[in-house]
Each structure stands twice: as structure tokens, then as C-alpha cells.
């Protein structure tokens, strides 16, 4: 069974553009048609009046000539000079006389003949000729005949077709212009929406300090106010959550300190039975883990609350790695690799934060991944990469992204410092510093956690 595919709706821009175009087309078409009809009516009317006037004058001339005794009909017709393109027809005693040899008198005058026969002047249009002609019939009762004048409306036809072309062209131009105006208008209308979208994206990316500015536009004010209120609410929510985590771990710090302090007394005691001593050792190890988890929770709470506590200063890369190794209690001898230029690079970071993040990676390698192999420093243009490599089984490709999530466990095993937060702290710290962190497979087995940080004062 196939589901009906949802029809993709046309976008706002397309819709508005189309609406403007159609609107412009309709308006220009109506106007053009009106103009055409009015002009045509006027021109036809004028043509008919001219033709009638001419026909009257010519008919009077013909009548007068015919009344002159002895005049031949053909001479009479030849003596009048009809306007160019006009044909004169004369019906006398049932016989047709014409000024043109090929004029088919009866056909041309079909429409007006009955009226003329009744003794009235008649006018009609005929399509027998091309272009159409106006036929004027004048009865000549004095000579018992009918006078007809057929005038081709060539000039009128040309004028009208020129006018039609002009009007069509302007209709098309107006339509296109309408579409363009529509496009521009919709772009103008969508601009604030795009700004809102951009701001929303920044908020989604974690920058909850983003706010919109209405720029004094009263129409945008409600949208901007609503958006800012929404972000305020989101920010407050995030900060409250972050504060909660921080507050909880903060409250636990004093009791944990009491435990650590008291336990140190027990550890120092020499008169413990082996069973008691191993119990004390167990407590000590677990307390150490608990402390790390507590610190991780506090750190993540603070990172969530924003990087406002960041206090960046330039630090040498080699220095950074040495401190991180020391913080993770790993001897530095032979662990640090990289060419001299790369090691001499400087990064601008909040030292305690980044040291903690790198120490997390080092500790991760030592505790969970068969031991740290080395920390390799690679200098690239504008950035420096720190590769924390281990001798463990490596991280399966499908887990490599997931290990950076909170409380993630790789292959059913805990990762990080045991709190499940270690690698997410690393990621958040590095991202806050404008860097990236990811996991690769090390050539020859094992995992390779790569921290890439922007470097400063590049000499490369």
C-alpha cells in the first residue's frame, strides 16, 4: 500500500509573485481591452461618417450628371473620382454599373439593398473584400436608381492592428513588471522573517544570548517582542537546569570533602587488619570516582550555562599537552610527538578548561582503552590538531559520534571518567573554543581522539 504523497505547497515567494503577475495581467488586459474597444468604436464611427458623407456627395453628383440629358452612365461614373480604394456601384433599371471592372455589385451590396430599395440610406460592413469594406447605399429616386459606394477600410484596419499590438505588448510588460514587483515585495516582507530564522538558528546552536531588534518598525514589533520573550524563556530554562546541576554538585562538595579528609586518616593508619585495609582502599577508589563524577557534573552545568566564565589567554601547545598529562597523572616522557613547528604553535584558550578537557581524553585512554600511546601534535594552516591515541580496541565506526553524547557507553562500556560525561565535556569545551573534536581509528589499531583548535600567530 502506498501512502499518498503529500503535495508540496508552493512557497510564499512563488505564490505572491504569481499573484502579482496574475493581478497585473488581469488589470492590464481589462484596460487594454477597454482601450481597444473604445478606440475601435471611435475609429469605426468616424470611418462610417466619412464614408456616408462622401457617398452623399458622390451620389448627388451622379444624380445631377444623370439628369443632364444625354449623359452616358459609364461617362458619369468615370467623371467622379472616388477616394482611393473605393468602388462605386450604380444600379439603374436592374442593371449594374461599376467604376471597377471586377466588382461583384450584387454580392457587395446584399445587406444594404433591401433598405435602399425602401428608399432609405443604408450603411453596412462587408467581409467580401479584404480588408473589410464599408458599404453605403443611397437611393436615387430622381433617376430611379440606387447608388452604392464600397470603401475598403484599409487604414482603419492597420491602425487597429497596430493599436492591438501596442496594447498586447504593454499587457505583457505590465505582467512581467507585476511579477518583479511581487518578487521584490515578498523579498522585502520576508527579510525580517529571514532575520528571525537566522536568530532562531543561532539559538538552536546554543547562543541563547541572541536577541532581535525591531529597528523601529512598528509592524515588526510584535514578532520581535514575541521572539525575544521566547528566547528569554528558553534561556531562563536552560540556566535554571544548568544551575540545578551545579547547585546539586556544589552542595555535595562539602560532605565529599569531609569523606575524603576522614578517609585519608584511615588510609594513613598502620594498625588496620588486611580486610579493613582493603575495605578502606575500596572506599577510597570509589570516593575518587564519585569526586570526578561530581566535578564533571559541575563542569557540564557550567558549560551549559554558557561560556561566560571563559578567560582566554595564549598558551603554547606543548605546554598545554604537558599540563594535561600532568593533570591526568600520566608521565610526559616520550608521550608527546610532533614536529618542532607544530609544538611551538600557540592557541588562545581558557587554560584550566582546555587542560581539563584534554586530561579527560588522556584519562579516558588510560582507564578504558588499554593505555595512552602518545599525544601527536599536527600543525595545519590556521589550526592545530592534538591526536590523543591509545592502544585499546578502538571505537566501532557507528559508535564514534555517539560516544560524545552525555551518559553514552561505548560497546556497553562506560567511557570517559566514569561519570558518562567526560567526552561530552570535551566536546562542549572544544566547541566553545571554536574547535572540533572527533574520533578516528588509529592506523595499527586503537582509537585516535582528535581535538582541533584554531591557532594564533601562525608563522606557516
Amino acid at each position: 500500500m502506498s501512502r499518498p504523497r503529500p503535495r508540496r505547497r508552493a512557497g510564499l515567494r512563488a505564490t505572491v509573485t504569481l499573484a502579482f503577475a496574475v493581478g497585473a495581467l488581469l488589470i492590464s488586459a481589462v484596460l487594454a481591452l477597454g482601450t481597444y474597444l473604445a478606440a475601435r468604436h471611435q475609429l469605426v464611427d468616424q470611418r462610417e461618417r466619412t464614408a456616408t458623407r462622401q457617398a452623399y456627395a458622390d451620389a448627388a453628383l451622379v444624380r445631377d450628371s444623370l439628369l443632364t440629358s444625354g449623359a452616358e452612365v459609364s461617362d458619369v461614373l468615370g467623371s467622379i473620382s472616388p477616394p482611393p480604394g473605393a468602388v462605386i456601384l450604380l444600379r439603374l433599371d436592374g442593371r449594374w454599373y461599376s467604376s471597377s471592372l471586377d466588382a461583384a455589385g450584387p454580392d457587395l451590396t446584399d445587406e444594404v439593398r433591401p433598405v435602399v430599395a425602401d428608399g432609405s440610406v443604408a450603411l453596412a460592413w462587408t467581409d467580401e473584400t479584404d480588408p473589410p469594406s464599408v458599404v453605403v447605399g443611397v437611393p436615387l429616386p430622381a433617376v430611379g436608381g440606387e447608388y452604392y459606394e464600397v470603401v475598403e477600410a484599409e487604414e482603419l484596419d492597420r491602425t487597429l492592428s497596430t493599436l492591438a499590438i501596442a496594447l498586447w505588448t504593454s499587457a505583457v510588460v505590465t505582467t512581467v513588471a507585476g511579477a518583479l514587483v511581487g518578487r521584490a515585495a515578498v523579498r522585502q516582507v520576508l527579510r525580517p522573517l529571514r532575520r528571525v530564522a537566522g536568530a532562531a538558528t543561532r539559538v538552536a546552536d546554543g547562543d541563547v544570548t541572541t536577541r532581535l531588534d525591531a529597528g523601529g518598525d512598528p509592524d515588526l514589533e510584535p514578532l520581535v517582542v514575541a521572539f525575544n520573550e521566547m528566547v528569554d524563556a528558553v534561556q531562563e530554562r536552560i540556566e535554571r537546569d544548568a544551575r540545578f546541576a551545579a547547585d546539586v554538585s556544589h552542595e555535595l562538595r562539602t560532605p565529599v570533602t569531609t569523606l575524603t579528609t576522614s578517609l585519608s586518616l584511615l588510609e594513613g593508619a598502620s594498625d588496620l587488619s588486611p580486610r579493613t585495609a582493603s575495605a578502606v582502599a575500596l572506599m577510597s577508589d570509589e570516593l575518587a570516582r564519585f569526586r570526578l563524577a561530581l566535578e564533571d557534573l559541575l563542569v557540564i552545568g557550567r558549560l551549559d550555562a554558557g561560556a561566560r566564565e571563559r578567560d582566554p589567554s595564549p598558551v603554547g601547545v606543548a605546554d598545554l599537552v604537558h599540563q594535561s598529562l600532568a593533570a591526568a597523572s600520566v608521565p610526559a616522557e616520550g608521550r608527546l610527538e610532533g614536529d618542532a613547528a607544530a609544538l611551538a604553535r600557540t592557541v588562545r584558550v581558557d587554560r584550566p578548561q582546555v587542560v581539563r578537557a584534554l586530561a579527560n581524553l588522556v584519562r579516558n585512554a588510560t582507564i578504558h582503552a588499554g593505555g595512552l600511546r602518545r599525544v601527536r601534535v599536527v600543525g595545519l594552516p590556521g589550526v592545530v590538531e592534538l591526536h590523543v591515541e591509545d592502544d585499546g580496541p578502538g571505537v566501532p565506526a557507528e559508535e564514534r559520534e555517539r560516544v560524545f553524547e552525555r551518559f553514552a557507553r561505548a560497546g556497553g562500556q562506560k567511557v570517559g571518567t566514569g561519570s558518562g560525561l567526560g567526552l561530552s565535556i570535551v566536546r562542549q569545551t572544544v566547541v566553545n573554543h571554536g574547535g572540533q573534536v572527533w574520533c578516528e581509528a588509529r592506523a595499527g589499531g586503537g582509537a585516535d581522539f582528535v581535538v582541533r583548535l584554531p591557532s594564533v600567530g601562525d608563522r606557516s
Binding site: R253, V256, T257, T260, T261, G268, V355
Partner: protein
């Protein structure tokens, strides 16, 4: 016997600190409130004071401010608060070092030991005059290492132990730049990842006492990006 005062409002931590510190050979007094601690300081003149910042009644910052003029003893803050502002505020108030909860006991002991170390005295075979070192001839600032006394035109300038030790270290390397790390190691015995704000705040405090114009120092100068230098002319 070296006498310590522990000002901490959490009973459990106060007791366990007492146990550990007594184990390390110190004589320990306890106080749970700042007002009480002020009396103990006056009555017993402890050699070092441990202070929590969050207390009922007067808080740790105010306590440090109140007690600082009355004693040269090092003051160590032991607090769960580790925000930049808190650390700096406590040091500005007059604390000598800062330990964040939860701490490792050996580390706390090492810090206390470093702060309680007596400043190196001049050799006894040298004549008293040889102990006198001119710090700033312009203002008549003279350090007498034999008597551990700083005088300006004959009048004593009070220094805390830590300030005195910092001045001695700077004077030993007069004219040379000392990095913040080096100062941390010489004055506080801190290992690699010490807090450099400790140095900055103490330098500021020392300047207030030895510089004629602390905001534009001429004796204890900052060397941008490298550290500090004492210029003796």
C-alpha cells in the same frame, strides 16, 4: 607548636579537618562563625587561618577583610565556590591562597607547609648593615632582611608573610623578569597547574604598599606576556 584556626560552619568538615591537621602536627582551634573566629584570632594569635567563604552571619570575605589588618598570618580560603569572581574577591580581601573543595589532603598539607615556611633570613655572620636593601631610593623604601622589616623613610610598612616572601623573591631576581609560574613555584611552592591569579592579585596588593602610585607602577613593573620585574635603581 604551630597553631591553626579553622573557620568552617560545617561540623563534619571542621572535625575531619581538625583530625587531619592534628595528625600532621598542628595545634588546631575551631570556629563555626566569623564573629567567634575574630575573638580567637585576637586571643590566640594563630599562625595560619583556614576560612570557608559561605558562613552563617558574617561571610568569609568580610571576615578576611576584618582580620587582615590585625594579623600577618597567612589566610587560606577553603571553599566550594571556585568562580573567577569569588577567587579574586577573596584574594583581594587579603587571602594568601585558595583551595577548592573537594581537595586532596596531601595537597592541602603541602600548601599549608609552603605558606608557613619562614622567609629566608640573612646569614647571622653578616653585619646588620649588610641586611639592608634599598628597594626604592626615590621613596626611601628599605628592606631589612635581618629583622624582616620593610620601612619607608624610617616608618614600618606592614607586609603579610606572603607579601614579604614575594618581595624577597622579586628582590633576589631584581632587574630580571620572573614569570607567573616561577613566582608560583618560589612563593607558594605550587606545581605546574597553579592558579596565576594568585600572583596577579598579590602583586597588586604589594604594589599598594610599595609603589607611590600603585596604578602606574615604577618599581614592580609588569612585563607584558612574560611576568613581573622589580626595578631597583
Amino acid at each position: 607548636m604551630t597553631r591553626l584556626l579553622v573557620l568552617e560552619d560545617d561540623v563534619g568538615l571542621r572535625r575531619s579537618l581538625r583530625l587531619v591537621l592534628e595528625d600532621a602536627g598542628y595545634d588546631v582551634d575551631e570556629a563555626s562563625r566569623a564573629e567567634e573566629a575574630l575573638e580567637v584570632v585576637a586571643a590566640r594569635a594563630p599562625d595560619l587561618i583556614l576560612v570557608d567563604l559561605v558562613l552563617g552571619g558574617m561571610d568569609g570575605f568580610s571576615f578576611i577583610q576584618r582580620v587582615r589588618p590585625t594579623t600577618e598570618a597567612p589566610i587560606v580560603v577553603v571553599s566550594a565556590r571556585d568562580g573567577v569572581q569569588d577567587v579574586v574577591a577573596a584574594l583581594e580581601a587579603g587571602a594568601d591562597d585558595y583551595v577548592t573543595k573537594p581537595f586532596e589532603v596531601p595537597e592541602l598539607k603541602a600548601r599549608l607547609k609552603a605558606l608557613l615556611r619562614r622567609p629566608a633570613m640573612a646569614g647571622s655572620e653578616r653585619s646588620p648593615d649588610a641586611d639592608l636593601e634599598v628597594v626604592d631610593p626615590a621613596s626611601g623604601l628599605v628592606l631589612d632582611r635581618g629583622a624582616a622589616l620593610l620601612t619607608r623613610a624610617g616608618a614600618e610598612v606592614h607586609l603579610t608573610h606572603t607579601e614579604y616572601r614575594l618581595l624577597c623573591v622579586l628582590l633576589d631576581h631584581a632587574g630580571r623578569v620572573l614569570s607567573r609560574e616561577a613566582l608560583l613555584e618560589h612563593v607558594w611552592d605550587h606545581s605546574v597547574h597553579g592558579d596565576e591569579r594568585l600572583v596577579d592579585v598579590h602583586v597588586r596588593r604589594l604594589r599598594k604598599k610599595i609603589e607611590p602610585e600603585p596604578s602606574s607602577p615604577t618599581v614592580l613593573v609588569t612585563v607584558r606576556g612574560l611576568g613581573y620585574r622589580l626595578d631597583v635603581r
